[in-house]
């Protein structure tokens, strides 16, 4: 094999998607060794982090038990603020999930090769986020033991009633469960070749059996690959509209209501953009942590991160545009209630929430116009966090503060969370991180089969030219 001489200028403009992977075997080794490592071989920092996050999961369990035993009154929800942190968290988590689907499905369809290093973890993140999200619609109900089966179209003998198909909450149930199912299938389908690799490398009986079952008899034949590629493409096709539809449906919860601040027709695109915005930020946070914890700098390169930051900038600006539109319409509609709601949002008792949201979502991401900022790890880590704080506030501002002051001044109120609200939300963060850490340790976090494709392509793209630069 000839020596590859790479043009440093080109490298800077268009760096390779993976670096220093050696040959394909090294790549397999690097990714599989994480899974195949003995307990003591995994870095201690991993186990300590896992211990912390899983104790937060216990907290979540305790909070939910307390809630179900005592009633919604343990939260700060009240009249008129029927929904507060519960639905805020639901929309927040659902939104986070969207980046995963976007990365894996839409970028796949657009043949964006840079997705390969991050798509697996982004998809996993989607699943875990939807799981966290699902907790809230169930447990925010006064009687979750009833809601559990009355919200699904399962025949019920007690009342023989259908669900109310006019209710956006029922659309939510369908949208979210569809989303979860498709995401799970898509993720699992992508995992099959890698699971087979792990099976083949297995040295213990348990691993052989478990991966043997999960890899569904994959042998890597051309026929398998053909079916696999087709299935993956179809699932990507199914997932793509879900990126748009799920959050649109979630936004209908508010858009179809009569409450000023909720009743807004721009909600579907506004929510979708916001979801992708927050989802990318969350993927960014997770990747930066995983990259550091599991030493994956060669596979998750600055180029990946730079691309993601560009998307964050675009979606953040769309969200900012939506904010402006809302204010314009509030004035233009001539509705005194609408007008007051938006004045109240920015200057009422919750002004600090609104201004946190404008700052985090609109002003701070503008830093990404500068390449320096886009490629600085610390900057992107901080911005990924502030973006998620901003997006959480966006949901809180829309959901809770619109409810605090609606039509009749006599029924105005104020909301403040209780310790149970706060601990429940922290608990879901713990659940999310725990699931992610378990995934990173026990399943291939990076899609080996896909990265290998990219790695060899990169290699050949340069090797064939003997180091000459064609594009000049």
């Amino acid at each position: 094999m000839s020596t590859v001489v790479q043009d440093p200028q080109l490298l800077e403009l268009n760096p390779p998607l993976v670096q220093g992977t050696g040959d394909l075997h090294d790549l397999t080794d690097q990714i599989s060794s994480v899974i195949e490592a003995q307990v003591f071989e995994t870095p201690l920092k991993y186990w300590i982090t896992l211990a912390c996050t899983s104790s937060i999961v216990l907290l979540l369990g305790a909070m939910i038990t307390y809630l179900v035993n005592t009633g919604i009154g343990v939260w700060g929800n009240n009249r008129p603020i029927g929904w507060a942190w519960d639905i805020t968290n639901f929309v927040f988590w659902i939104g986070i999930g969207h980046a995963g689907t976007l990365i894996s499905a839409i970028l796949f369809l657009f043949r964006q090769k840079w997705r390969t290093s991050i798509n697996r973890s982004a998809e996993a993140m989607t699943l875990f986020a939807v799981m966290c999200a699902g907790i809230f619609p169930l447990f925010h109900t006064g009687r979750p033991w009833r809601a559990f089966y009355w919200l699904f179209p399962i025949p019920n003998t007690d009342l023989n009633l259908w669900q109310n198909f006019r209710s956006p909450l029922i659309w939510d149930v369908f949208a979210v469960s569809t989303y979860f199912t498709v995401s799970l299938l898509f993720w699992f389908t992508g995992l099959v070749p890698d699971l087979a690799t792990l099976r083949d490398r297995a040295t213990t009986k348990v691993r052989q059996v478990v991966f043997g079952i999960l890899s569904l008899g994959w042998r890597g034949s051309a026929r398998h690959w053909r079916h696999y590629e087709q299935a993956y493409l179809i699932l990507a096709g199914i997932s793509t509209p879900l990126v748009l539809s799920v959050h649109s449906v979630v936004s209908f919860d508010f858009a179809t209501s009569v409450i000023p601040g909720w009743h807004t027709t721009i909600f579907p695109p506004y929510f979708v953009a916001g979801a992708i915005f927050s989802g990318f930020a969350c993927v960014m946070t997770l990747l930066l942590i995983a990259r550091w914890l599991l030493n994956l700098q060669n596979l998750i390169t600055i180029k990946h991160l730079d691309n993601m930051n560009k998307i964050i900038l675009v979606t953040g600006s769309i969200v900012g545009y939506a904010y402006c539109t809302e204010f314009f319409i509030a004035w233009y509609s001539g509705s005194i209630y609408e007008r007051f709601t938006f004045l109240n949002r920015a200057f009422g008792p919750y002004w600090w929430a609104a201004w946190s949201m404008y700052t985090c979502n609109v002003f701070i991401p503008q830093l990404y116009w500068f390449r320096k900022m886009r490629t600085n790890l610390w900057v992107m880590f901080i911005i990924s966090i502030t973006t998620n704080i901003g997006m959480w506030f966006e949901r809180f501002v829309i959901i809770a503060t619109s409810l605090t002051r609606d039509f009749l001044p006599s029924s105005w109120g104020y909301y403040s969370p209780t310790w149970v609200d706060i601990c429940t939300f922290i608990g879901t963060i713990g659940l999310f991180l725990t699931l992610f850490l378990l995934f990173a340790r026990f399943l291939p976090m990076i899609a080996m089969s896909e990265v290998k494709g990219v790695a060899s392509q990169e290699k050949h793209a340069f090797a064939g030219q003997e180091g000459k630069v064609l594009h000049r």
Binding site: G142, V258, R339, P409
Partner: protein
Amino acid sequence: MDKMSLFQILNNAPDEPAGLKQASTSSSTTPEYWRSLDQLADTPEFQQWVHREFPDDAVAVLDGNSRRSMLKIMAASFGLAGLAACRRPEMRMAPQARGREDYIPGSPYNYTSAFALGGHASGLVVQTYEGRPSKIEGNPDHPSSLGAATALAQASVLGVYDPDRAKVVMEGGKESTWEEFEAALKTLSLGDGSGLRFLSGTVVSPTLESQRAEALKSFPKAKWVEYESIARDNERAGALLAFGQAVDVHPQFDRAKVILSLDFDFLGNDWPTPLATKLFSKNRHVDSEEDLEKISRLYVVESQFSLTGANAEHRLRMRGGDVQQFAADLSAALGTSPAGSDRRAKFLAAVAKDLKAAGKEALVVAGPRQPAVVHALAHQINQTLGAAGETITFTKAATTDRVESGVDALKTLTGEMTSGQVSTLIILGANPAYTAPADLQFGAALAKVANSIHLGAENDETAAAAKWHLPEAHFLEAWGDARSTDGVVAIQQPMIEPIFGGRSAIEVMALVLDSKDKKGYDLVKNFWASQLPAASRDNAWKKALNDGVVAGTKSAEVKPTVDSKRIQAAPAAAASGIEVGFLPSATTWDGRFANNAWMQEAPDPITKLVWDNVVLVSPAMARERNLKDGDMVALTRGNLKLEAAVMTQPGHAANAVSIALGYGRPRSGTVGTDVGFNAGLIRTSDGFWFGQGFSMAPTGAKHILANTQEHGSMEEPQLVASIKPNHRPLVRESTIEDYKKNARIIEQMNEVPELDSIYPQRTWEGLQWGMAIDLGACTGCNACVIACQSENNVPSVGKDQVLRGREMHWIRMDRYYVGPVDDPRAVEQPIPCMQCENAPCENVCPVQATTHSPEGLNDMAYNRCVGTRYCANNCPFKVRHFNFLDWHKNFLERRRIEPELMSMVYNPDVTVRMRGIMEKCTYCVQRIQEARISTKTDGRKEFTGEGVVTACQQTCPADAIAFGNINDPNSKVAKLKKQERNYAMLAELDVRPRTTYLGRLRNPNPDLEAS
């Protein structure tokens, strides 16, 4: 007979209670077996244990015990085991017209009874199920009720089942029995009665009066003192001063065109029967052009912003002590034309002119807090105007026997007690240790009385200080009678055997007098047997029970004349320092309803405060002294000191503060103890209603106030200096003049574009329910709120939950201030469910738990509800209430009550909602169904919606609520909805509310309106 009572079933099963009963009564005195060496030695520790185990105070027993053992102890100690506690009383009662001849289990029975408060009495109809009273309504045949009942009267039914009530006879802090008391009473040597004193509240019971006469005859040197914290003493003294004879005064608000109230909150706290509101609102119903001319004009002069002030066309705020001077000036101004340019002078001139113009259609009334001379001046003005005998009538005072009443009489009595002249004091149903002015030191004086006997409903402050404490039966547990101010007597029928073995005042008096009759029934019946004509005695008695009024008891009308020479206005009170005005509490009255959770949670009609009282200060004073709501202040004068929280009251007089009585009870039940601040600490006998010369300083501490309405104006708050806040046309009002010019003015206050739907609209045929609320008539008295709570088993949630905005009232009273914050007007608006035709709550419910009935009701299926709260979010009127916690369990556990006792107050026709589900006003669907079923069972052809009366509508003293079939053009509601002043709130949302409002029409004086 009626053997199927809930309690019987519950108590028939276990055997232990009977055994426990013995234990509880004997163990503390003669233990047969010792349990420990401590017990044998009778050590203090053992005494403590006994006290804990078998105590003087039921609440203490229950501390630290499981609920199961609590039931046992309760059942045993209070004699529930042997008695069927909630069977119907043994004595004969005649059912009301709605009752039936043969008893049908599960059907409600209605009986008449009577309710007395503050010297007033009203007639009641009490609904009972299986011998348990569950709902109180006004007796339509009683002249003081006319079918309505006040919030306090209705809430009193909850008191029957109050587990904190006095339950055992106590002697010197130890448990005793009625037998021991009777024996002890016999040993008292009362002689000629020189050391004997009786102390009671205002007596309105003719039977008790006859016993009083008998007592004063048998003990010629004894004295009987009447003292109540809130009574009609000044009114009586004023009449005596003006006319030289005792007369009862009856303002006829319905006959007056121009009314001036001198600090008289007759629509609110100062008139504890529905009569004043009934009469006043008569002229406020507008059904035709002619009715516009009927609308009276009300002027109010007062310190605190009262409900009457809120309903006034013009209100002048001034210190309570200055009202006297105003009355004197007005009296003078009727002869001359006064000059002056300040607000008071203009107001005075305008009122004088208006009153003169109205002549005999004018009416000047003075409030019970104002001294006698103000009442006398009012009588004089009325006479000058020719109104006496027209808009105000007089009857001969019913009581004439040797009785001293009021704070001066109490002062004399305390003096006698302190100097040791009183050896036996019998306190009947009063709580002077709490209600007496602070300077009288009643508690200390009581300690000097050798034999103090207290009959009281609660183990209260007086009970703790008295030698004997006797549990008083609730008025729904005992026979009695009550005379209203015009002399009409109603028999007070019991609905239930005394649950805790209490006795009534007349039964205790029968013991004192050693009468032949000892039972309440015999006492009342035999008294009336002597009063009723012999020929028709039995029938008259039965008729009296059935009608709720004793025929022929109305007092004769008299026409007294004012002797102006006797009336000398005292010089105005010195203006130094702050004036503290004491108000009756709209919720706890003088403190006797402090343990009533319904009342504690009923928002004050003006302040909207619950579970508290506060020092109300004017906005100017709050600004000057930099006081925020909830800041603690100390009000001091000499050695009097009260620390209490302040709250800004728009429209309050400057340099004066007000505080409601009846709070800060040191010794009430679990609900009422230490709730709010005890205004009695700074109330003195010379400053009984208005204490002058106080100073006020913040203490730096904070107190959390629970208020049910955060924003009190229909104007939006000013959020950005450069943007003008909008006005929201929610409560709409117009002057008569503007309305005459443009009848559509109310409707035009909110322009709604043509609202079309792309879908075919549902047609509403056949029976369709709707409601119309006349804001012109509604005074905001809260009666509907309590009626709804009682009818629909609406839970109380407690102060901490109200703070979180989780109160449950299905109908709430919104209050908005209009105008400048220093001197605004106020409007009230009752908000039940709007039962929207396009209900926004319905389409968002994922499980179809709330759907529309074919008759236009927005129904709730409680057992389908999973509690997403989406419907409540989407309700523009926020009338949906969520059970955030298990309110009933929460409430019971907090009060350590067995659910069986508390559940006796529930209306069995209405589901008690569990936690986690949504609830709201149903338009009393159970009453609709009841009417439908009775149409069917009576064999009538078709149910046309006749005879359906919702609970709020039934009790409304202003008749402001109309309900019925809107498709029946002859129904009242359909006619009201056709009026031009009918409007739907938030019509622009196209939710099409079935509850609509009739705009309020005001009759302002053009002279004052311009300024």
